[in-house]
Symmetry: C2
Subunit: 548 residues, 2 copies
């Protein structure tokens, strides 16, 4: 805070020069008050800070006539234009149009429902929330229920006890108040205990920043680290487009490293090293490395050896390790398990002094899938305390994340235990969801691998498959003629023919000349055969059309 | 979307050059894949885009040795350092230290509680939520309740009906799913109807973007409009520091216009004009004008004539009007009422074609004060559809705002009506809160005006008073000696002596040489006499100490 306090003092405290006791009836014609140094100072005789006036965009005419054209696509922030987010991109916009047609003129489309496999949104496809979590949520929303006799008839005893404990932990029992900017302290304590139990290494509640889903945390870290286009962030390719979008919005450079599809989307250390070297040689200051584990869109679960190598690499190169660990509960193979990067780093003997590590988590995935409640956290370790103060300040500008998401995050990190009334129901709900997801992942991957020209790694974890499709030259030509990326062309055709919404691989990045799409494993299990049959029929017809 | 699709195509689709059917066992050494043009292209023989490599910060040495120092306060994004947010700034950090001392060593501080008057956070000071709103929230959280007989004994019939109607309006009844990126359509319809009822002019659900409180909407508009430091936003001074913080984070220039304290914080049109002219002459492209009505921290309610002049000004000058209308329900004087800027513009005959107007609203203020639930909306009118598509895209990167905030926003725009079971309780809760806030505002302003050297305009609306304090020269000298802004020095002394937390005027901006603080009117009515007595005693002693 020291440094920023000095800046504030320099910028706003020229004002002490007069201490007139009566407010002037009208302030002086041109006060130098501005947040951006002395940019406004020119006309009252102060020195002008050239750098703030001579930016790169000096094409606009700067006359005294106020600029009077309205805002248009040609004069908005170009960083907004650059940002792309395929998961809700043009295919989804087209799906919404089809949804509208289906509603108003069902005969105009060749399917009777849209199947949204574009986004990891389990409850939108019928997954039911965990009862205990929702009981507690309702009691915290309306604490008056805790005083009513009827409540004991319709809520489990442990949900009542948990809600009471959560509400008591909120200052003034005020579930409608802004919390501390990092989140309610008592909830952060619970979450830190959950992390500690998971990792067998200590976690500090003051390192936890509760967020509205994982995305705002990622944005905060990008905002903190990216100064200009010469600052780079290493990201896996394929990647979840939040990263490319956030880097574009914060004006940095995405430094790609490619996952190896032929090795189950494995991560090769020599690839990381050569990419870093090349980026550095190009004048990019690489500041951080993003790892998504389990992988999105790729579904792989990293081996512990691979994780150790990544930690060592970040330590050696002085990179912040940004670990997207939102799928930590979604693992479907027996020979893999989730290990947090913090546990890996600590078990290698690396402490806070050795490596800057941020772990992102969320209430949106796992077996809970509470996407719409927008809850998440980032655990920020290894940063100087004055840097952490700056993260806290940025968090403060938005006051706090939403309390219902905060509460849900604490429940996920501390679910019912053996002996609790809800335990049995909780475990049966959880296990049913996870085992069904595992079956669906397997069923869909097998079906995709049976299609001509399609190869698909299994989903060891997460919620997606990312099959590779060989597109006939005819399809590639037709796509170009239509002004479309070839995999977008394929996905658009699939959507038009079947109502199945998937996301083109180009939205995630892929080795040039290869084509993929991402499909979630989330449709209800009983619908999978129909979806597979629709996919298969479409694919065969597509090949017939374009191989001709 | 057209333009951005082209950009995407240019940047990522060089990849069509090969369509090898087998994934290479290892991708080529340096693929040009990057979101920032061809910045990475140098080493594989492609043309390098100089502009992305030759940014302003070329001081770092750019050797092939990877940059290996860790992140420090000296190498984070300087825009983060510049951003200040006094409402949760150093005084509040100090208050937290005192809170800790009070807990662990009560004898070490001269008060028995901290009174947080720094932030408009009503429920943290004991304000109770509106029962109907929380009943509906609980039922939507745990829809299973709707099927239980006991529910009818403990929930009002209209809360049950409303929850059923809300849940039916959510696709698939999935209250845990991501919604449309603008928010659940049915909720936006309800909100648009509420706006229409308030204004007697039509509102379009597709113009509504539901947000996690008003702040994210403000950030989105800053992100959209600010290209670099030469783009300016006009803001009132004093202002709510969200605006200065957001402009700093998005690298724009704050163009201040000063409210006239001697005229009840009125807005003089000649002030607006001269500020715009001076900014334009300095090379600033002024893009938008922020108005906060009712005012924060100033509490004034604009006259309709004033509002008409502002609308005319924005129309004539081609400025986007950003109307912060979050205090629209908080009005305490009989001779003023809230009129939305959209109603003013439409009643002047101006349509979507004439003026770009964004109205921000929130669930955090009014009589509801649901700060912690983080709900809000912005109504975006007058923008080209392709610009609106860009706002939608940015909203999509964060997926959606939280559902419980969305639901609450719809309730606030459509509260119980005459004849509903909850109507009587609802109106009595609402009216008790608003009339008490009015009494508290009056009581506190009167007391402040009795203090020597303090003048304070009344709060016509909002939740704050912004008294002006004449500081003795001795205090100003002592402040400088302590390295503090004089009003911060005063507030810090007040906090240390009384436990009352207020925010220095310098955090909001003020005419140079004048000093103020912002204090909320939110402490419980019964505590007001004690607070006033503490304030008075402190102030007298402070003057005694420094007038000597």
């Amino acid at each position: 805070m020291r440094r920023s306090a000095q800046i504030l003092a320099k910028r706003t405290l020229a004002h002490t020069r007069s201490s007139a006791r009566v407010p002037p009836s009208k302030p002086p014609a041109f006060l130098p008050y501005t947040t951006t140094a002395t940019a406004m100072g020119a006309s009252d005789g102060q020195e002008t800070n050239g750098s703030s006036l001579n930016g790169s965009d000096s094409k606009r005419s700067l006359s005294c006539v106020p600029w009077s054209s309205s805002i248009t696509i040609d004069n908005i922030n170009p960083k907004v234009l650059e940002c792309e987010y395929a998961v809700r991109g043009e295919i989804v916009t087209h799906a919404e149009r089809l949804q509208h047609k289906l509603l108003h003129n069902p005969a105009s489309v060749p399917f009777d429902e849209l199947i949204y496999c574009n986004i990891g949104n389990p409850q939108s496809l019928g997954q039911q929330p965990i009862t205990f979590f929702r009981e507690v949520a309702a009691l915290c929303d309306y604490p008056g229920l805790l005083d009513k006799d009827e409540t004991h008839g319709i809520f489990s005893s442990d949900s009542i006890a948990r809600a009471e404990s959560i509400i008591s932990g909120i200052p003034g029992r005020a579930t409608g108040a802004y919390s501390h900017s990092k989140g309610v302290k008592a909830l952060r304590v619970t979450i830190a205990e959950g992390i500690q139990q998971r990792d067998s290494y200590p976690a500090d509640p003051d390192d936890i920043f509760l967020t509205d889903g994982a995305s705002p945390g990622v944005h905060m870290m990008m905002q903190l680290t990216l100064r200009n286009r010469k600052d780079g962030i290493m990201c896996p390719i394929p990647q979840y487009p939040l990263y490319s979008a956030s880097i574009a919005l914060h004006d940095g450079t995405l430094v790609p490293y490619y996952l190896d599809e032929s090795k189950g989307w494995g991560l090769d250390m020599s690839e990381l090293k050569s990419r870093l070297e090349a980026a550095t040689a190009s004048g990019i200051n690489v500041r951080a490395l993003v790892v998504i584990n389990p992988g999105n869109p790729t579904g792989q679960v990293l081996s512990q050896e691979n994780q150790q190598n990544i930690v060592q690499f970040c330590k050696d190169e002085g990179l912040i390790l940004l670990a997207d660990e939102v799928y930590q509960e979604n693992i479907y193979v027996d020979n893999k398990k989730f290990t947090s990067f913090k546990k890996v780093a600590r078990s290698m003997g690396y402490t806070e002094k050795d490596i800057c590590l941020v772990s992102f988590h969320s209430i949106s995935k796992g077996y809970y899938g509470e996407c719409g409640r927008r809850g998440g956290y980032m655990e920020v370790t290894g940063f100087d305390s004055d840097v952490k103060d700056q993260i806290y300040k940025v968090a403060s500008v938005n006051l706090c994340s939403n309390l219902s998401g905060q509460i849900m995050m604490s429940l996920i990190m501390n679910p019912p235990k053996v002996g609790d009334e809800s335990y049995e129901l909780y475990t049966s709900e959880r296990d049913a969801i996870l085992s069904s997801l595992g079956r669906r992942a397997k069923m869909l991957a097998e079906a995709l691998n049976k299609l001509e020209g399609v190869t698909c790694n299994e989903a060891e974890g997460a919620m997606y498959l990312f099959p590779r499709i060989e597109l006939p030259e005819g399809a590639i030509k037709s796509a170009k003629a239509a002004g479309m990326v070839p995999d977008t062309f394929y996905c658009r055709r699939l959507l038009d023919a079947t109502g199945i919404v998937v996301v083109p691989g180009s939205g995630f990045g892929q080795v040039p000349g290869t084509w993929h799409f991402r499909i979630t494993i989330l449709p209800p299990e009983e619908k999978m055969p129909t979806i597979i049959s629709k996919l298969t029929t479409f694919h065969e017809r597509f090949l017939q059309e374009f191989q001709a």
